[in-house]
Amino acid sequence: MIERMDLFRAVAAQRSDEIVVMTMTATLQWPLVSTHDLDFDFLAFGMGHASDFGMGLALARPERKTIVFKGDGGLLMSLGSLVTMGRYGPENLLVLLLENRTYEMTGGQPLAAGPDFTALARAAGVPGGGATGHGKVERMETLGDFETQLPRLLSEPGPHFIVLPVENHEPLPPVNHTDHASRVTRLRAALGLDGDVRRDV
């Protein structure tokens, strides 16, 4: 089991110009370790769609990796996303599934105990799949293993779907996200797309 904040610190330490997308409780803790312009902490994707949004970003920005922190509860709300990733996922998409077996944001209600998320991703066609056939599915049980593998995950072609069993013993900051439009504007500005005023392509 991996302590979630340690996982975030490990990613923040090795991350350079990758876009980092997250939702739910990850949006509360990731900002404690990173204030990068290419961070996209966003509560309002619609249930289960953080990695779908991340896939769109990765398709639009092939020159850099897009990392997505996704929860296992969110995955269950949009399982078809795995099939879509297996069919179209670009090489620069890295999905880190934070497996804590609860709907943590809403009070820790338990998830169904049965699903094997690694097996689900494999059955969905992610290994050897994706847009260019480089898809990979892996499960990493320890922080040390993840830290060792992360440089490879950030450099080799994917898409990657990595299952990480996590727990959290640190306090969660309060939720204070309300202005979702400004988050989009800020990320687009960081990508060199707009200034203060949005421009269409």
Binding site: A44, H49, D52, F53, G56, S78, G80, A181, D200
Partner: protein, 167 residues
Amino acid sequence: MTGASAATTVAEIERLGYTHALVIPDSESRALVEELAESAAVDVISPCREGESVAIAAGLWTGGAKPLLIIQNTGLMEAGDALRGCGIGPKIPLRMLVGWRGYTGAQLGKLPIDSAYPYTEPLLAAWGIPWWPLMSDNDLGVIAEMDARAAETSAPAAVLCGHRFRA
């Protein structure tokens, strides 16, 4: 009743600079999607459900691409949470061609009326999403109108396709 020409509509989609089409198959758009698959300018992605399509499109736009959603009104209903979260709330100009299932039958007086038909307009109104009808080649200009409104408002806009596209 048949609607606009698929080939002419694809030419308009290409002219407007769309880079990706997020498509869930439906009866109204079948010919259009088959024509789009031949386009060198537009990448066609077919997710599993419309909520996924909306979120992928939002990510594409945020990253600088110009996606077009091609879905049915039933899928629009399914995608409500994603549309709220990835379009209306963050003010992302999602452009949509929405197959208006039930419209043709209702115009022909067929009973029972498909329940997908009467809820479509009120649903779009409730979300504050402007829409234009596309019934034939004569209406093709509405795609550009919809496109421009989405750009001006940085918010979702839709075209309702009342009849099946013709090959």
